[in-house]
Symmetry: C2
Subunit: 329 residues, 2 copies
């Protein structure tokens, strides 16, 4: 069967609220730098009162990846839950404006569209406090099996594992993809997310995931080791492809007997690391769906990540298609 989509992503539909912050604020609020914490509505409101003037951009891990894929010229679809409110409209506009198919119906009662307050410290690290809002209503009924069957790859974010109904949606989608002979890809999302769900994530990696994305911290956490090569050895036997990112050390792509090391793309100015992993996954998956070899896929991922970390916000500020064409020559 012909595919309609290169990649369909399923994830939390979030609008990011990005502000500069100094380390003092993180300390005062007891926040762990680099992590994503879930906060309830009241706490989100209190924190918002503590942070500086912000800008709002559409975000969400898997949504960022699909947005990046669309910017590369790929055919993408996204499944996620917004509320019928102003920020929900912002999220919908921004992803549809890139040509992504996003049909998930908004909720009309319950909590508002999800927001993530992202504090960017002077070292360009981001620390996130996410209020899941309407995302808690994402469930298996939102997964359109025909859409999944029509997608070369179904891409899932680890964060979905934080909510039981989203987890069900995840498993339904993975199952539908495999039944249709398609690939399933997972991003481990965050080392703390791995901590929360280690056993289940290991099981997923072993039995359900064809293409795994993880950064160094996440893969070390998954296999509870401090030896990157040991972690690499573990993952090698389980997933068809594992793409392991190591920040300025570049990335390592493992597939069966193949191991490719790809250098990080040089960057002029590191501004905000928000979305670096999401953009890498976008570039990598675009390469995979276009049939490029794995080291080129890694290179495309690195180019996309370098673009996104050179400015505030998790989504590309330029056409990634044009950028990658220039860089690859």
């Amino acid at each position: 069967m012909e595919t309609k989509f290169d990649v369909t992503g399923i994830g939390n539909a979030i609008v990011d609220v990005l502000a500069h912050a100094d380390d003092g604020l993180l300390e005062a609020e007891g926040l762990t730098k680099g992590a994503m914490s879930l906060v309830e509505a009241e706490e989100a409101k209190r924190l918002y009162g503590q942070i500086g003037a912000a800008i709002e951009c559409s975000g969400g891990s898997a949504a960022n990846t699909i947005a990046g894929l669309a910017s590369l010229g790929g055919a993408g679809a996204f499944i996620g839950k917004v509320h019928d409110d102003q920020l929900g409209e912002v999220f919908r506009h921004d992803i549809q404006a890139l040509g992504v198919v996003f049909d998930s119906a908004p909720t009309t009662d319950g909590p508002p569209t999800a927001t993530s307050m992202i504090l960017v410290t002077p070292d360009a690290q981001r620390t996130m406090m996410t209020f899941l809002g309407a995302c808690v209503n994402l469930g298996p009924d939102d997964v359109d099996e025909d859409m999944i069957a029509a997608s070369q790859i179904t891409y899932l974010e680890g964060y979905l594992w934080d909510r039981p109904s989203a987890k069900e949606a995840f498993l339904k989608a993975a199952d539908a993809a495999h039944r249709a002979g398609r690939k399933v890809s997972l991003s481990l999302s965050d080392p703390f997310c791995v901590d929360r769900h280690r056993e289940e994530f290991r099981d997923l990696a072993e039995r359900h995931v064809d293409i795994l994305f993880a950064n160094e911290e996440e893969i070390l956490s998954l296999y509870q080791t401090d030896d990157f090569d040991a972690a690499l050895g573990h993952v090698r036997g389980h997933c068809e492809i594992a793409a392991l990112t190591r920040s300025e050390k570049g990335c390592v792509i493992v597939s069966g007997d193949e191991v490719h090391s790809v250098a990080a793309e040089p960057i002029v100015k590191l501004v905000d690391t928000t979305g670096a992993g999401d953009a890498f996954a976008a570039g990598f998956l675009h390469g995979v769906t276009a049939g490029r070899n794995l080291s080129v896929c890694g290179r495309i991922g690195s180019i996309c990540a370098a673009e996104v970390i050179s400015h505030m916000g998790a989504r590309p500020d330029v056409s990634l298609k044009k950028l990658v064409a220039e860089k690859l020559g």
Copy 2:
């Protein structure tokens, strides 16, 4: 009487929706580059469907100026109308986070918080389509005369003149300021706004305004001349101070017999001119309230404008206080 505020601004409380666009979109939509057009709700919705992925930042001309003043360390207050909705909350948060006093009650019925779609073309010019939303409910009752009397300067945006009740608010504030022995400052906002209200703006400049801000196009339009020196001659007799900005040619400050020409601040990269005039006014007024001489006021204004045009969005991305301290040495 001692003053509590350096500057109180009155203007449209707007959240900007900024997107990159090419000239083709402006042509297709019949938009005049560099201008601000008012659009109704339906048209705003239609246009939103045409523009690319966007970012949201608090905006509004006078609000940007007061935000800039606060970033410089000045004591600012703002009067403007938002609705009790998500974008109204964004506007309120961002201006209060800078330390600005913003007490205006939100509307609870009627249209939503105002938005301005701002298309930034590759030449860094901005073209704005503003849906005034809740701003149409700004009226004289929103002007707190005690706040005006406690402000060294009351700063008004010309855009207020587009709505009868906002115009009344404007005149009430100007009157209250003068009765308290304070100064009134006006920004002409936009050459098309000057076109719409030329006779009244001339009358204002002659009889009500102590400190006038205009760019070259606006002052030429006000006096219907194509000779900058002729326009300068006209304005000299009327306002105590006129600060006339000329983009890369810098600015000219006129006050009685004094004329100061100040070079534009060099910029590394011109990204988005949105808010350049607002930031200039912030720096200039901060200088005035601090008792600096007029050429230094112009220099501070130029430094602030250069910061704002080096990134997307109309509000400063760094502490202007620190930046100006470094630049002035």
